[in-house]
Point group: C2
Chain length 421, copies 2
């Protein structure tokens, strides 16, 4: 235990609607344990902030601004897409981290990210053993892709799932109204290049009270054009309309993404569009149905206005648990969500070893996808439903969510030396 | 006044998050005045339901289901894109309407739609005078495009505006977090082929507490590529990132839409995509910035989960007022919103003559767009802000909004004769 030392906290990779809720959990919990953790320094733009000695003094922020992080989407300190190489490959980077950590008396390292970040965190956790610098590294899970192992769910996913399920239901009601004389097919494109978790959430839009015909195109299922067109046709003939949820990762048997349909603009540049317009046009060409399509992109992962309360609660709890684990002397671990029961959904915080988390991708189980490859099974519903339950509305001002922008004051530099990224 | 007669109600054109709130206002108010209005028959799929004698007996719906219309997006009875021709051009259609109205003892005609529908409603209002059939026709305004004259605002617009402003703010927070090493430019495409009201709402995402750099491409302003690129570059250099709101109606000086950039797919088919990917690629080509883009499409007009309370209240009030006007003997009118003050926003219900509404488009005033053509003025903010104020959340079940699907039982046919649409 590093009594009285400072903590470093950084956000990594794509941000989410609730990564700041984890930051809130980390900082509020650290503030309760001032005797153990003197200050929380955040990396400006993630790990880059550590390498360049660009640290943010979160101690300068008011309690109410830190509390407001809980309802603010995005990464309050800036994130980055920057992966540290292996300790052997790029020893210089780790020496620099140690240099900065030493200068600022940092004994705790909290890294808030996905799979790649868990790997980085794991490497930092080995600094004590391999390079003689005492530090405790704890990973705080985050990723809308929901592809981390061990934890029941990754914070960020539940809110995207709620957004996509809600949006798919709403747009389906819309196209159903229009179908008699106009639009019969609505296509929504969702994130998830490798795993179909988000696409699966679109399937929740339909249930026993809402018999919406939804066709899902998963990255896990090779695209079968004829089967797909047959399914859409059958839905339109039976229901009058059809909704399609297409993952950005949906692909042909040869691995080529649907989005890479050879689209070229007037200048000959390849691929302007996404998968949604490709699928929509395919339906129009083969079946003649009028369509509309949407690409949710960042809107889905930033939509704090319709965040899942379960997701917000878990994101906060994991940040809090990370600090408590650090205080209790843990290193090289990640607090994780453990599901005790589906209905009612009961969860608790468990602890995973980083060596079991780093570089392992959790894919959708086969039994979550219906046999025809276009829908979700009851098992999938049982898994997904509790993750989107509960609303946690932000405060509003002048009709808009009131999100906080922190002051993000820098910690005075001590080294003041350049470091080449 | 047609005591004891039935009313016909129909939804027309593109549906919205709150058109059912107007239906709720019509039906609940009619139920209070059973002595004046015996039953409300809704047209299945709008006016087509009247022409084909396909009427829905709203009397079969429970009070609680009718109340739930207030929080349900889309058109509960089905809408249509079908415009009646002039009385002289297609007398047959009007004779058919009279035949159906006579058969079902219909003395009131409530038409819930935009500009085209106001024109149809106006024609129906003349049936008494021109064809000797006593009917009172009242138009209930609705259109996300906000382009009807006289009324301060059109129901449906305020909720789209709230959705677009919120989504733009949320995505801007996201791209701001990512900008250091990744995405620097975010583009969101919004509806509005002729008028930039919705695009203008994107500008509300920025305010004195949220200095977000937003560039808006309005349909009212001829696209100036160089000025646009300069503005984006300047924003990225100053703020590190830039958000762009592009109207689907944004166009080049020659009138060609940005979306029609000559995009072709592998089969040589024209234009898969929208304006957003075109603009995003243009920025990438000229300035090299990494981008993300979203196309909101139906998501924006169906997003009842983040409807504006002001909008919902007005939609309901206009439906209610339409019935009260009918009962008071009015014909050929439209209840309208009259703004009494901006701050606090005070509004009341006024009355417009249909002859002044039909076929008149209300465009954005020039003084609502900044001189450089890329932003909104304070006058525009004063107009827009009150329209998005207030939240009116739907109930949730299993994490999703609980929207009602009516039974929509048919009124027994009396004529049972075919009519060719």
């Amino acid at each position: 235990m590093s009594a009285g030392k400072n903590a470093f906290y950084a956000q990594s990779g794509g941000v989410t609607a609730v990564i700041n809720a984890s930051a809130c959990g980390v900082i509020e919990t650290a503030r309760i344990h001032k005797d153990k953790i003197a200050n929380v320094y955040a990396g400006r733009n993630g790990i880059i902030g550590a390498l360049t000695e660009d640290l943010i003094d979160t101690g300068q922020e008011s309690d109410s601004d830190i509390a407001a992080l809980r309802h603010t989407p995005s990464g309050a300190f800036g994130s980055c897409r920057y992966k540290l190489k292996g300790l052997e490959e790029n020893r210089e980077q780790y020496e620099r981290l140690i240099e900065v950590f030493k200068a600022h008396n940092i004994g705790y390292f909290f890294y808030n990210g996905g799979g790649d970040s868990a790997d980085t965190c794991h490497k930092v956790s080995q600094l004590s053993e391999k390079m003689g610098f005492p530090i405790q590294a704890i990973h705080v899970p985050k990723t809308v892709d929901n592809d981390l192992p061990i934890t029941d769910v990754c914070p960020g996913f539940g809110s995207v799932a709620k957004y996509i399920a809600t949006s798919t239901r709403e747009a389906s009601f819309d196209v159903c109204s229009m179908a008699k004389t106009s639009t019969k097919v609505f296509v929504i494109e969702v994130m998830g290049r490798h795993a179909g978790w988000i696409a699966a959430a679109g399937g929740l839009a339909a249930d026993k009270h809402n018999p919406i015909p939804i066709v899902i195109l998963f990255p896990e299922v090779e695209f079968d054009q004829q089967a797909f067109l047959n399914k859409v046709k059958q839905n339109v003939e039976q229901y009058g309309y059809c909704s399609i949820v297409v993952s950005e990762g949906a692909h042909w048997p040869d691995g080529k993404f649907l989005a890479e349909q050879g689209t070229r603009d007037a200048f000959g540049h390849a691929q302007l569009g996404g998968a949604a317009p490709v699928v929509a046009n395919m339906v129009k060409d083969a079946l003649g149905y009028k369509y509309h399509w949407a690409v949710a992109d960042y809107l889905q992962r930033a939509a704090r206005h319709i965040a899942s309360k379960t997701d917000v609660d878990q994101a906060y709890a994991l940040g809090k648990a990370a600090v408590e684990m650090a205080i209790n002397g843990d290193n090289a671990v990640m607090p994780a969500i453990v599901r005790k029961s589906d209905e009612p959904y009961v969860w608790e915080i468990g602890k995973a070893k980083l060596e079991d988390v780093a570089n392992v991708e959790k894919m959708m189980p086969k039994e979550f996808i219906t046999e025809d490859g276009f829908g979700i099974t009851d098992a999938c519903r049982r898994y997904l439903t509790p993750l989107i339950v509960g609303e946690d509305y932000p405060p509003y001002e002048n009709g808009l969510p009131k999100y906080v922008t922190l002051k993000n004051k820098p910690v005075e530099k001590i080294l003041n030396t350049d470091f080449q990224l």
